[in-house]
């Protein structure tokens, strides 16, 4: 098969029996084993938690409009940023792309009818919801104020808030991640269609495979750490209590051993999305396919070796600091390789400016800035100054929001036709993407400056010379909020009133585009046999290797 077809001249029909209309009723959704329906269950849940987390972000930024802590009390504010962090990290960022897009696409991308363990998949969602319920309970009953990082001894000995329910919520949800990762790993290893070798897999699958390695190896460590905090807090034992011989810094080592790889859980899938969008909307084979694939695995592996860079001023030895610093610089290199390869993919392509591509281009720019500022933090001498300041907040929001969320939204838009069978309104979507980009930069760029000036994190009140920059940041946040609300509205609208999309509106390659939109419950009428390389936009005879 040569160049894929694009929008056919006639309005396509909605397929007869697809996974959406094969059965109706609440039970058919809550007891489904179809990975596509489970993906939509997750879509609803993560969207819910995203807006909860966003609400708390808004409350934070409103308080920070003025230097004095005059909107809410300090204790309340401390709960705002804790809940914002917990909800966004554990209930949105970590599950978002894997549980929504990964669940939906991986079986199709490997030519399978479902994941290896469909019932486990559904159980994952229920576990996630149970964990979310604990956390919501904690929020509603007064909140938790330890910061999402739960540092001891404050979380074990000092905090009066609902630490245990919130911690339990995270503990439980962790198992959801573990099972999802397990499912992906087994499926990718054991259920690829005939002819689908590893290096014929889409880069999205590579990215999610690397992510799943982290799910499986890292999440259990945060689980046991949380358990230790809960045991210490309830039974008054001394894992981390210096008065009982414990070491509070041990908590930090255990916590960050997971939580640093966790940030790669959050960004690798988004990178996988970009690796799909850029070739499609450049109509071109990805430049350096193998390097992008290897880079994904390298990031996952190296990501486990750098946790101490969160602890340069914690009292760990200078020697440890040196080791973690150099490794942190090393882990940046594969990410840089990916950025260069995506950019090179665009060179000589046929670039469409549709909304997914706008998100992808925004991602490349913002992730580059976020990643480069990570080098400031890896650099020991500078980190001492900017550690625990707004510089760090700006850095990780550039990656998480400018990167991961834009990757998520880009992916949602890109695969929306496949998921819903409908086209979203293109003009409105581009407008929303631009609003998000502008709002984002206005919110977070001033925070780099605030950080170097010395404004610490988690401050309810601050010196008045920091106010103007904070006002800019809050203004940006309101714009950003509008940008996020728009897709919620028009995507929902499109499910009912959007134009039918047809099987492959973008003219993309990939197994998922060879089946109908929406797909049938079994994904394919006949199990595909793969006999060509991925991303074959141009005919095989035209291969040209540069340099």
């Amino acid at each position: 098969m040569s160049a894929a077809e694009y929008l056919p001249p006639v309005e396509p029909e909605e397929p007869r029996d697809n996974y959406l209309n094969v059965a109706y009723g609440v039970r058919s959704w809550l007891l489904t084993r179809d990975h596509k329906r489970i993906a939509l269950l997750y879509l609803a849940s993560v969207t819910f938690f995203f807006f909860i987390g966003g609400l708390f972000a808004l409350l934070i930024r409103l308080e920070l409009l003025t230097p004095a802590g005059d909107m809410v009390q300090a204790e309340t504010y401390n709960k705002f940023f804790t809940i914002h962090g917990i909800v966004m990290v554990f209930f949105f960022l970590i599950p978002s792309i894997p549980a929504v897009l990964g669940n939906f696409l991986i079986p199709m991308m490997i030519g399978a009818k479902d994941l290896a363990f469909p019932r486990l998949n559904l159980l994952s969602w229920y576990i996630y919801m149970l964990g979310g319920l604990f956390t919501i309970w904690a929020i509603v009953h007064g909140g938790v104020d330890t910061g999402w990082t739960f540092y001891t001894p404050y979380s074990t000995l000092s905090s009066n808030s609902h630490v245990i329910p919130a911690a339990l919520g995270i503990f439980i949800t962790g198992f959801s991640s573990i099972l999802t990762g397990l499912n992906f790993i087994v499926s990718i290893h054991k259920m690829r269609a005939p002819g689908l070798t590893w290096f014929r897999l889409p880069l999205f699958v590579w990215a999610l495979y690397a992510t799943s390695l982290i799910f499986v190896l890292g999440t259990p460590v945060i689980a046991i750490t949380i358990l230790m905090v809960a045991v210490e807090r309830t039974l008054h034992v001394g894992f981390f209590d210096p008065a009982l011989g414990g070491d509070p810094v041990l908590f930090q080592h255990l916590f960050w051993f997971y939580s640093h790889p966790a940030v790669y859980i959050m960004i690798l899938p988004a990178m996988g999305v970009i690796s799909e969008i850029v070739p499609t909307f450049s109509r071109k084979h990805p430049f350096g396919y193998r390097f992008i694939a290897y880079a994904s695995v390298a990031i996952a592996v190296l990501g486990f070796l750098v946790w101490g860079h969160h602890m340069f001023v914690s009292g760990q030895s200078v020697y440890a600091g040196l080791v973690f610093s150099v490794l942190s610089f090393l882990v940046a290199i594969p990410s840089a390789i990916k950025v260069f390869n995506w950019t090179a993919t665009m060179h000589g392509g046929s670039i469409s400016w549709k909304a997914p591509m706008l998100y992808a281009m925004g991602f490349i720019g913002l992730f580059t800035v976020g990643g480069l500022t990570g080098l400031f933090l890896a650099s020991l001498g500078v980190d001492v100054h900017v550690h625990d300041t707004y510089f760090v907040i700006a850095h990780f929001h550039y990656i998480m929001v400018g990167g991961a969320v834009m990757g998520y939204l880009g992916g949602i838009h890109y695969w929306w036709p496949k998921i819903s069978g409908k086209l979203y309104p293109e003009v409105l979507a581009r407008f929303a993407a631009i609003i998000v980009f502008i709002g984002f930069n206005l919110t977070f760029f001033p925070q780099f400056i605030l950080g170097y000036l010395g404004m610490p994190r988690r401050y309810h009140s601050y010196p008045e010379e920091f106010q103007v920059l904070n006002v800019f940041s809050t203004a940006g946040a309101s714009i950003l909020g509008v940008g996020y609300l728009l897709p919620l509205v028009y995507l929902a609208w499109s499910m009912r009133y959007g134009r039918n999309s047809g099987a492959n509106p973008w003219g993309a390659t990939g197994l998922e585009w060879k089946t109908t939109s929406p797909p049938p419950p079994e994904n394919f009428e006949v199990t595909p046999v793969v006999d060509e390389e991925p991303y074959s936009y141009s005919a095989p005879g035209e291969v040209r290797v540069v340099g």
């Binding site: 009292g315 390869n341 670039i351 480069l372 001498g381 000036l453 994190r457 003219g507 040209r544």
Partner: protein, 350 residues
């Protein structure tokens, strides 16, 4: 609302100059690559804009040369960042030998500052300009962090151990002190001011302030108050090791290990005496946890430091055995490293 807001912090210490230089190097390189990538993405998007739905671009799989180039060059640049940052960091952890000693106890939600000669301050720190100052810090409750942006200085303040940091202020003025590790309700009010004074003003501050007894004499008072001298005495009635000349000396423990007696060892011996027993003595010393607070321990330590060398017949002095990369003898497992307050110090990197 102040409209004359700053965009860059004051530069008021020797270290700030080094940190800022590295920062500007990072900034320049980052700005260059950010602009380059942004430009290329936008330029390619425009130049190669889709003009026809039928056109399929030629297939380009990759280029090994390019991959190597754009791996090796960023790697080289990254390593340059590493080496420069590491150098600064190492010197941040090597306080000069003649530094003025200041002791800081953090607690929710205030900073208690004690100068060696007795001045006490709360949320304020007065120091002379152009003189290195070493801070020895601990917490009474949760982890805090002592942060002076103008000096580019920051260190976690951890309960149960001592952390040290140092700076040399270069410009007179008043600069923010912030707590930079979230510690509960009033974390953002755990702030203060460091006042850097010209030599004459510093002298008058020293003289004029409500200077009570020095740390060491307060420690002597505590020593007598808690009857430490019942066992720790230089004569034959002693049931505990003689403390004269203890500070900085090699100590041999009953389990065969040796260590250098530093602030952390003295503190542990007061709060948890059975953890390390000196060779030849019985484990009979009671614990003073709950009876003596962190400030009292600092006073006792200052007193012990002030005691002279013992006369002949005291425990043998041994040369230090192994060296750590930090330049001090390697402490035994369990003794928290006081981050730079080791007897052998290298010359600080300026």
């Amino acid at each position: 609302m102040r409209t004359d807001f700053p965009l860059f912090p004051d530069r008021a210490s020797t270290m700030a100059t080094h940190v800022d230089a590295l920062f500007f190097y990072l900034l320049t390189v980052s700005a260059f690559f950010s602009v380059l990538i942004a430009f290329l993405v936008v330029y390619f998007a425009i130049r190669y804009r889709r003009r026809s739905e039928e056109f399929v671009p030629p297939r380009i799989e990759g280029s090994l040369t390019l991959e190597i180039v754009w791996t090796v060059i960023p790697l080289g640049i990254a390593l340059s960042f590493f080496f420069w940052g590491a150098r600064i960091f190492v010197s941040m952890n090597q306080p000069p030998r003649d530094a003025l000693q200041v002791y800081i106890v953090g607690k929710q939600w205030m900073w208690k500052v004690q100068h060696a000669d007795g001045q006490k301050e709360i949320n304020e720190l007065h120091v002379p300009v152009n003189r290195p100052v070493q801070l020895t810090m601990t917490s009474e409750d949760v982890i805090h962090d002592f942060f002076i942006p103008a000096f580019r200085m920051k260190r976690d303040v951890v309960p149960g151990r001592y952390e040290t940091a140092w700076f040399e202020a270069t410009r007179a003025g008043r600069y923010h002190i912030f707590c930079a590790q979230y510690c509960g309700t009033n974390h953002s009010r755990m702030v203060g001011w460091v006042s850097v004074l010209e030599p004459r003003e510093y002298q008058s501050w020293l003289a004029g302030g409500a200077a009570s007894e020095s740390l060491a004499s307060a420690g002597a008072r505590l020593f007598a108050q808690h009857a430490c001298n019942t066992c720790h005495r230089p004569d034959s009635l002693a049931r505990g090791p003689n403390l004269e000349g203890l500070y900085g000396r090699l100590v041999r423990l009953s389990n065969g290990q040796t260590l250098i007696a530093d602030e952390a060892y003295i503190r542990e011996s007061i709060l948890n005496p059975s953890a390390k027993i000196v060779a030849g003595y019985q484990p009979i010393m009671p614990t003073f946890q709950g009876l003596i607070g962190e400030e009292g321990i600092l006073q006792l330590t200052a007193y012990i430091k002030s005691l002279g060398k013992p006369s002949a017949g005291g425990p043998e002095m041994l040369p230090p055995t192994s060296q750590s990369p930090l330049g001090g003898a390697v402490p035994p497992p369990g003794a928290p490293t006081p981050g730079g307050a080791s007897p052998q110090k290298g010359a600080p990197v300026r």
